[in-house]
């Protein structure tokens, strides 16, 4: 009886039913209004407007099914404000709208992890095609769709890859609060992202899309209806990013506990703050750009169609004005996680705290002034190339701050090589290679050859996979015991680390050489003399996929089957989240803590934070 009642409540099942219903309502509704097709092919049902409205209807139905309208409606009917959504206990919380920031954090971890594995599978399929220089495993259109799906899924989903799981889970705890500033918006960001992920995958039913993750115009205008899925996915990601950023900034600025001054904030919080600033400033540009592109396809506008007065340059400018800050949205949380974890395992305070903060803020500021380095050979603003070369190279100064702070934190420490620490240390290796190859790309003369080649592709895989994904796994091994209350297997973790580290380098380092030798990105064929390199890379990539399976095995085995309870503070950290029980209780703190210092007092004789302190309970 209760089971049946649970199934018809506002949960994931209802959401899916209403989502599909909304999809068909939008589809047939639009057909009824505008007729069967706006396009040349009356016999083929290429009705773009219907498709877009169908997806919007689907998203709306999905959100209503999850219960996002319940609160506004009950408020309109005169009920007092409440946070009822988080009171329902049990596993059911994870399958619906929940305003507990810890539940949302775990939802993000599982949801983004799921799409990360799908994106990784797409990469395997791409590498299968590239085993042979001219033999076609996939039809050319399928291959381009795989390239686009891999790139878009990774770039879109992983914008929230660290802020989603670890930001949502940890930020309120780290600043001594009981919840985020806007708990329902927090839940909304997650479910928008999931709806977007499903929409992107459904592009395969509508012919896929040929543009890769950049969606350049006018190629995007002439593409199949599957292109609309790309626009809707990225627009939903943009909305989710904007809301997530606003929520994080509001929380960090207004909800810090007494005593937690700006100079005592954990560096991870600074990282989240600077990333959120980037999200709030950059993502709305993306949403507007994609709306313009959608109008070009559905409402016959001509923003980007050159033969009718539009400009593809406009799209390139707008896209990269978002796109370059976006890659720092991916990279900065990685910097922050590394600097947060290093002091714990080096048993030393974070060296040069102010310099580290300046590095994070400096990177986020400069990232808005470099976007045209993606357009060095495009013929746009040729006289601005020296400026963009200079501003791009300037970014290496604040990035260097992160390096020196991390290195000096290790200096004369008592370094323990636990799994999270290994991932953090490998970050330095990977990001060094990624950063130094970036120097070649930022240098305009050198960029003439490397631009748009596999060199570029290897470069950003070193910065994003080597920087972000390694930090992401560091975060998982470090914080999942706190989030779930169960330890991850250390031995399997080390196997995962070493296989991943070696195979990652074995996969991506040869691609620098392939790029130097003249292999362009996103091609289905390549020169015969590059076959050995490509085969080597493909085999390494498959094995790298196997390394991910080791992680998956460890994750499931440790958390589902072994269930070894984690102690409250397995790493000997002085940060506040480790002074709470694992997993953290629903209301985080019985009494709001009062901070008396930063969490890096190793070797200074100060103990960890005293949690029960003076402020009255129930402040938040």
């Amino acid at each position: 009886m209760t089971v049946a009642r649970r199934l018809v409540g506002f949960n994931l099942l209802t959401a899916c039913v209403l989502g599909v219903g909304g999809w068909y309502a939008g589809w047939y509704g639009a057909h009824a209004v505008v007729g069967p097709s706006l396009d040349y092919f009356g016999d083929i049902d290429f009705n773009e407007l219907s498709l877009v409205l169908a997806y919007l209807g689907g998203v709306l139905g999905f959100l209503i099914g999850l219960g996002f309208l319940n609160y506004p409606i009950s408020r309109m009917r005169g009920y007092p404000p409440s946070l009822r959504e988080k009171e329902t206990g049990g596993v059911g919380r994870y399958f619906g709208l929940c305003t507990d920031h810890k539940v949302v954090g775990i939802q993000y971890l599982i949801g983004i992890g799921f799409f990360f594995f799908i994106g990784g599978l797409n990469a395997m399929l791409i590498r299968t095609e590239l085993l042979r220089p001219d033999h076609q495993v996939w039809p050319a259109g399928t291959y381009l769709t795989l390239v686009g799906l891999h790139g878009t899924m990774m770039m879109g989903m992983f914008t929230s890859g660290i802020l989603g799981p670890f930001g949502n889970y940890l930020i309120p705890i780290l600043i001594g609060a009981r919840r985020m500033a806007f708990p329902r918006i927090e839940a909304l960001t997650f479910w928008l992202l999931m709806a977007g992920g499903v929409i992107l995958e459904t592009t395969v039913f509508f012919g896929g899309f040929p543009t890769g993750w950049t969606g350049y115009q006018p190629l995007g205008t002439q593409a199949n209806p599957g292109m609309d899925c790309y626009y809707l996915f990225f627009a939903l990601v943009g909305i989710s990013m904007t809301l997530l950023g606003i929520n994080m900034i509001a929380t960090i600025v207004t909800m810090r506990a007494p005593g937690l001054t700006w100079s005592r904030l954990p560096i991870f919080v600074w990282g989240v703050l600077s990333t959120s600033a980037l999200m709030v400033l950059a993502a709305p540009v993306l949403i507007a750009t994609l709306l313009m592109a959608l109008l070009d396809r559905t409402a016959q506008t001509n923003f980007f169609i050159p033969s009718q007065g539009g400009s593809p340059y406009l799209y390139e400018n707008l896209f990269w004005f978002f796109g370059h800050p976006e890659v720092y949205v991916l990279a900065l949380p990685g910097f922050a996680i590394v600097l947060e974890i290093l002091p714990v395992f080096a048993r030393k305070p974070l060296w040069g705290y102010r310099l580290a903060v300046a590095g994070l803020l400096g990177v986020s500021l400069l990232s808005f002034f470099v976007w045209q380095h993606h357009l060095f050979v495009s013929g746009i603003n040729a006289d601005l190339r020296p400026f963009y070369m200079f501003s791009t190279e300037l970014i290496s100064i604040p990035t260097g701050f992160t390096f020196i702070c991390g290195m000096m934190t290790l200096w004369r420490g008592r370094i323990r090589y636990s799994v999270p620490m290994l991932f953090c240390l490998s970050w330095f290796f990977n990001f060094l290679i990624g950063g130094l190859t970036g120097v070649f790309l930022s240098d305009t003369p050198s960029d003439t050859t490397t631009h748009g080649s596999f060199f570029t592709m290897a470069h950003f895989h070193y910065t994003i996979m080597g920087g972000l994904v390694f930090a992401f796994f560091a975060g998982i091994y470090y914080w999942v015991p706190k989030m779930t209350g169960f330890q991850l297997n250390e031995r399997l973790g080390k196997i995962h680390f070493w296989t991943m580290f070696i195979l990652f380098n074995s996969t991506f380092f040869p691609l620098f050489i392939a790029g130097f030798l003249g292999q362009p990105r996103r091609v289905v064929t390549y020169a015969h003399n590059l076959q050995f390199i490509n085969d080597w890379v493909s085999v390494s990539a498959f094995l790298l996929g196997g390394s991910m399976l080791v992680f998956l095995y460890n994750f499931v085995k440790s958390l589902v089957f072994d269930r070894v309870p984690a102690p409250a503070d397995p790493w000997g950290s002085k940060s506040i989240e480790w002074q709470l029980p694992s997993p953290v209780p629903v209301h985080n703190f019985d009494r709001i803590p009062v901070f008396s210092g930063d969490p890096y007092g190793y070797g200074e004789g100060t103990g960890p934070f005293p949690i029960p302190a003076g402020a009255p309970a129930g402040m938040n």
Partner: protein
């Protein structure tokens, strides 16, 4: 802020900093010339044109700057991770070093000087001859002397070439005279392509409605490869071809032959123009 050496335990009194710096200098002094001499000649895109050779110089200088940085981090991490390794179960705290202004200032000065040098050197190299990159309709890096104009037209999914000084003749293969300053006008008929002639050291996006100019000065005869370097749709992967640099006399006879072959179809083609705007396009199928 640094802890005085006297306060540290005996094992900490060794001068770690001096050791790392000396090892770094020794390694850099050995590695940098080695890398420049061994790796430098292998760096792309070769010496077939003036622009390509300029890029090789540029790549070599960048590699020479990058090598000491790699050496520093390699020495630092090998030393730190082996020397400061903690074994045994008990947690022991390290010295609470929170800051050192000298290290900070030194680091900021070194990185800033490097960055300023890189930007200045890159700008100098760029403004000499444009380094083979597309410069848009109003190029800023103009090589001196007479130039042979050639138009590169990208379309889904091939490049064709027009020679305005030879009656606008259009050919499917790019043939260039040796030892000549070439002015390439890159444009597109449909979507964005990118004209990449690897051995020539030329890359310029082909934008519809835009005349994107790149310069290249050829040297001796060779065969080079042309590929599209910007995703342009279904058969992007097959958008490649070869081109030739031939002696001037051979070029003259080749282009004369092309003009003769081209004459019957010339009247069906649009007149030579820096850009062509095709019909409003929708789908390509």
């Amino acid at each position: 802020m640094a802890t005085p050496a006297a306060a540290a335990p005996a094992s900490e009194r060794r001068d770690h900093g001096k050791r790392v710096v000396i090892a770094w200098i020794v390694l850099s002094v050995i590695a940098t010339p080695l890398v420049v001499l061994v790796l430098g000649p292998q760096l792309p895109p070769g010496h077939a044109t003036v622009q390509a050779a300029g890029q090789v110089v540029d790549n070599t200088v960048l590699t020479a700057i990058v090598t000491p940085v790699v050496c520093l981090l390699a020495v630092f991490f090998v030393y730190a991770l082996s020397q400061f390794r903690h074994t045994g179960g008990a947690l022991v705290d390290g010295p609470p070093l929170r800051n050192d202004n000298r290290v900070q200032v030194l680091w900021i000065v070194i990185t800033s000087v490097t960055v300023l040098f890189l930007a200045a050197f890159g700008t100098y190299e760029l403004l000499q001859d444009g380094s083979g990159g597309g410069q848009g309709p109003n190029p800023i890096a103009l090589p001196s002397g007479p130039k042979l104009q050639i138009q590169v037209i990208g379309q889904q999914w091939e490049f064709t070439y027009r020679y305005p000084s030879y009656g606008g003749v259009e050919t499917p293969q790019l043939v260039l005279p040796a030892n000549t300053q070439i002015e390439l006008h890159v444009t597109s008929l449909d979507v964005i392509h990118s004209f990449w002639a690897y051995e020539l050291g030329v890359k310029a996006d082909a934008n519809p409605g835009v005349d994107n100019i790149a310069f290249v000065k050829t040297k001796g005869p060779l065969t080079f490869h042309v590929r599209c370097a910007e995703l342009c749709g279904l058969w992007h992967g097959y958008m490649f071809n070869t081109g030739r640099v031939v002696p001037a006399s051979q070029f003259a006879s080749w282009v004369k032959g092309q003009e003769r072959d081209f004459a019957p179809v010339a009247k069906y083609l649009p007149r030579y123009s820096t850009i062509y705007l095709p019909d409003p396009q929708r789908r390509a199928g």
